[in-house]
Amino acid sequence: MVRLADLPEFEREHLLAKTRGLTGFEGRPWKKPPPLAQCRIAIVTTAGLHRRGDRPFGPSATATDYRVIPGDTPASELVMSHQSVNFDRSGFQEDHNVVFPLDRLRELAREKVVGSVADYHYAFMGAAPIKQLAPKARELAGLLKQDRVDAVLLTPV
């Protein structure tokens, strides 16, 4: 997220239009997870990340699929093929944790601030049409349950 006032008008308009008049978000789902120190947490990012050698994300209109990032993936294997060129990538290039804070999450797990870190994390490409992501998001929810995940950290760019 970013401060609206920090953006030029054309950028503000472009981003606001993404959710203006969007339907299907009338529900207010709520589930209280276990205490944080018992929570198993996965990261789901829309930063278009994947492992080097994985198939890059395709054009925005069709890129509704996700990539799996195993928890033991070294940072040196992470690349980004997001379709948008309208956000900063230099931060990710310097330190993946600014987008995908896996090292920070592992530290919190070692300190027992959180219960544990999931075995698998996932990446979407956030320029895809929002509502067309729903089927894959549902599929992912099932996989996260199988990994005994209590809470998901969603990281957009």
Binding site: E11, V98, A151
Partner: protein, 223 residues
């Protein structure tokens, strides 16, 4: 943005005041990232929702030196002819190699490689389009998809190399340098024109939407 999040009413969300692309604020600052992460995780302890909280801490602003730019420390000596963009691109990549090598040593990684090509090879793909003799597409990809990953790799190489230079240039300075002061920026702008004029739909989409940032197009009067 906060407004987009409010439209979708997720159960819990933390708004952060950082630039797009940096949701945890500051690369290389584990303490800063940890504070953001703890703030968002603590939303899990709320008893009722939806919760949309505001993170109170800004990322540090770049210093005068960091915002000063990078062009002055790049010297592209004995360059090929000005009208041979493909050769200029190859030459520039060679000139930047020492800085990119340094970036890789410091960071222990590079984020290039989504295309599976070495950087000089990626540059030759761009040059092939500029010369009117397009290189074959990557396996299973359209021409537009091939150029997208190739150009992403080239841009990552340039940005990583520039960031290794003295003065620790910030993101805006590097963006300006890439699009205004490099042969790669010129080559990409030329490629954009060719793609938009192409009959290939995948190239039209690539050139029109996913090659040149909106901010750069506005600055250059392309929109």
């Amino acid at each position: 943005m906060r407004e987009n999040t409010a439209d979708m009413h997720p159960p819990r969300a933390l708004w952060v005041p950082f630039m797009l692309g940096r949701p945890f604020g500051v690369p290389g600052d584990a303490a800063f990232q940890r504070r953001v992460l703890l703030a968002v995780l603590q939303l899990l302890e709320a008893d009722a929702g939806p919760v949309l909280a505001d993170y109170p801490e800004d990322a540090p602003q770049p210093s005068e030196e960091e915002a000063a730019g990078v062009a002055c420390v790049v010297s592209f000596g004995r360059a090929p002819r000005e009208d041979d963009l493909g050769a200029l691109l190859a030459h520039e990549i060679e000139e930047l190699a020492t800085w990119h090598d340094l970036a890789v040593r410091r960071r222990g990684r590079t984020t290039t490689g989504a295309s599976g090509m070495a950087i000089p090879q990626a540059a030759r793909v761009v040059a092939s389009y500029l010369e009117g003799k397009p290189a074959p597409n990557l396996d299973g990809m359209s021409a537009g998809e091939t150029l997208k990953v190739v150009c992403d790799d080239l841009r990552a190489y340039y940005v990583e190399a520039a960031a290794a230079k003295p003065g620790n240039p910030d993101a805006q300075a590097i963006l300006h340098w890439f699009w205004h002061d490099t042969a790669a920026g010129r080559a990409f702008l030329e490629l954009r024109k060719l793609c938009i004029a192409s009959n290939d739909r995948s190239l039209q989409v690539f050139g029109g939407n996913t090659l040149v940032p909106r901010a750069v197009m506005h600055a250059l009067g392309l929109r």
